[in-house]
Symmetry: C2
């Protein structure tokens, strides 16, 4: 049970756009090569990132670029953009608790707040890094190679 790879793929995509965008056109085919993910899936993810105002894409001529500065895109922004998490929340509730049982009819209410807090802790952590951090680390590692 894992958070869909759309999220890490999206970060990969954005990193490529920043790193290679100045030298070449970053197309869905190019991104498919780099990520190992099907080009249609890439276009799908790019579509969500575009809808969230994170990238711009060009139909026809092709290619994608960032729509705002690196330090104004957090991992949380990406995470919500590709919506790998339900409206229901990160934790899945079994759906048919017995309303005739005092525990069954209240367990949801009792757990909800605590689970939401846990999810929020995760999300706050994602808010604390921006793409600028990711790119900076990436450039450092590449230079050291």
């Amino acid at each position: 049970m894992q958070i869909a790879s759309k999220f890490t793929v999206a970060v990969h995509i954005l990193t490529c756009i920043e790193i290679f965008g100045s030298e070449r056109r970053v197309t869905s085919d190019f991104l498919s090569e780099s990520t190992g993910v099907n080009a249609v899936i890439i276009r799908n993810v790019l579509g969500k990132l575009r809808a969230a105002g994170i990238v711009e894409t060009r139909q026809g001529s092709g290619g994608a670029n960032l729509a705002r500065p690196l330090n104004q895109i957090t991992l949380y922004d990406v995470y919500t953009a590709v919506d790998c998490i339900d409206d229901e929340g990160l934790f899945h509730f079994h759906e048919n608790p017995n309303a005739d049982c005092p525990v069954g009819r209240n367990i949801h209410k009792v757990m909800d707040g605590r689970l939401r807090s846990a999810q929020q802790a995760l999300e706050n952590e994602l808010k604390s890094t921006t793409l600028a951090d990711v790119i900076s680390d990436t450039r450092k590692i590449i230079e050291e190679e």
Copy 2:
């Protein structure tokens, strides 16, 4: 994409054991009734909770009870007991990044620490509540009904 309901089911089970354990034998059939989850699945979850030293079960005569005090069982203990999270971590990495691409061969290294931190923030939050808290809230709500 959600964390498997095994987790919330496990909490439901443990709550039932505490609340009803003094009046009756808490069998997998009874728990199946209360949760709405198949009795075999219940026995499966109980098996994991037993392996983690959280409950004891009785073959033959039937029934389950808690193996340690309520305030010594955190939500995190339950979460790890039913292992709804991979060894790989909460976040799923696409598996075939291109080693010939400088981004492809480094993205994992760059992201790993940050994703682990996010996961840990979630888990720390789960460590901060014990079943004693959950039961106390449950009893309060039941009394107010």
